[in-house]
């Protein structure tokens, strides 16, 4: 087991002529909740996709628990994408079987308990579920694993405040405390209270990586306020 969980050295990802990540250097340890913060298009989703092996770096090095993305890293990463990834033909029970078959760290008992609390029956078909129920089920599956690294891509975007609370509570009460949770979002105020560290991304580069305590002490402001300062855009016709 490597001491560092995530190591990025001069990590670059380009889509054709467009550069999404322009030389990211990042070192993240274990047992932390880390916020990956940045405006839309700053490279958050690209970094997460590289970590979970959906994309390959254009150049630079990327290691998760000391290994390049592959079968091993996929077995220790629990990934929540920013979309629904279920097959329509399955029911809830099929999905639990699927996760149990492929992930050794999946706790079926935990997942069944959470499903019952949400009123999802094993025979319920995915096709007939509402968008909100599907999102919650996906979160239940991801958080029922005792993973080393949880990659949560915009888990609270586009949901109402009550659902937001449910999502944050589910994450906090279920994650493996020896593992690290990396949450990407631009809704900082809602998750600031739970973060240990933050990584600010702008135009594909890390502009700040610090602990939340340190930011509060040195700046005397909340992370949300610091974010607004860093990413402030002057509207057309406005003044500096």
């Amino acid at each position: 087991m490597a001491t560092e969980l995530i190591t990025c050295s001069n990590l670059v990802k380009a889509y054709g002529r467009k550069t999404a990540l322009a030389g990211v250097d990042l070192h993240i340890g274990r047992g932390k909740i880390v916020g990956l913060l940045g405006p839309n298009g700053s490279g958050k989703t690209t970094l997460i996709k590289l970590l979970c092996g959906l994309l390959r770096p254009s150049s630079g090095e990327l290691l998760v628990d000391g290994a390049a993305p592959g079968v091993y890293t996929k077995s220790i990463i629990s990934y929540l994408p920013d979309r629904m990834y279920f097959a329509d033909w399955m029911n809830a029970s099929d999905l639990l079987n699927f996760f149990q078959d492929f992930y050794k760290d999946f706790s079926r008992e935990k997942a069944e308990g959470m499903c019952a609390a949400l009123g999802i029956n094993p025979g319920d078909r995915i096709k007939t579920m509402s968008k909100g129920t599907k999102e919650k089920l996906q979160l239940v599956l991801v958080m029922s694993r005792s993973a080393q690294l949880y990659l949560l891509d915009e888990p609270i975007a586009g949901v109402d405040p009550a659902a937001r609370d449910f999502i944050m509570n589910t994450i906090l009460t279920n994650y493996n405390e020896n593992g690290t949770v990396l949450i990407s979002t631009h809704l900082i105020a809602d998750i600031e209270r739970v973060l240990d560290e933050v990584v600010f991304l702008r135009e594909g580069k890390v502009v700040r990586h610090d602990t939340v305590d340190n930011i509060r002490q040195t700046e005397g402001k909340s992370v949300d306020a610091v974010f607004r300062e860093i990413f402030r855009t002057i509207p057309y016709g406005g003044e500096e």
Partner: protein, 263 residues
Amino acid sequence: MLGKLMKYDLKSMFKSFTPLWLALLAVSAVNRFLVFRNDARFANGVSAFVSIFLYGSLCIAVVVVTIVLIIRRFYSGLLKDEGYLMFTLPVKTWQLVASKCLSATIITLLSMIAGLLSVFILVPGIQWHQLFEAISKYARFITGDMVLSGVLLLLLVLFTVIKSVTYIYTSLALGHLASKHRVGWSVAAFIGINVVLTTLGTNLVTLFSKEFPNVRWDFFPNSVSDIPATNGCLLALIGITLVQVVIFFFATERILAKHLNLE
């Protein structure tokens, strides 16, 4: 892991195909009683035409639906949103492709069997006992070469199915590299590959005929003594098909492993 992947791929395919196969067999049974109520009417030219037309339509329906569903399972199962689940599973890319390919092959073979069964149901008057009697009567004339021909023919059918499936996958994998109009690009890739293969095939045959003018391509034996030559041709065809399977499979695997481009 391949077994586990196949379990879910087959399960999803059976959900779509079982009703299709049952419908095919049911339609055949209904038509048998509606169209051919007795053998005498079957002898009538019009009825015979109707029977061929019906069988043809049913076959076309099964073939079209099989192809469409095989494309859909690969396209939406790996290259659309479901890809976010499948490509983050702790499995190798080749296992994902192999699982889809083997499941599609099994389904295609089962569709063929269902098609064959439907003919037996649709066409009345097949005297099974006479058929078996005839087979046993001529069994002593069957040589080892003839058995080999049968086995080679079945293998050729099997590998041709696998080749067609992997050919479709390669076209879809190439099409998914585009940022827009992915289906259109997949069709273009399908046609492009066909043009390349046809050109290559024609040139190779011409070259081969020039180099070896004495070799005869005996696909249809005129006598028992021709059968070994036919088997040689079948073996060559199987070899050519296998080479294509290997190329298509690894092309698909490499594209998805190195250049995965989910929306």
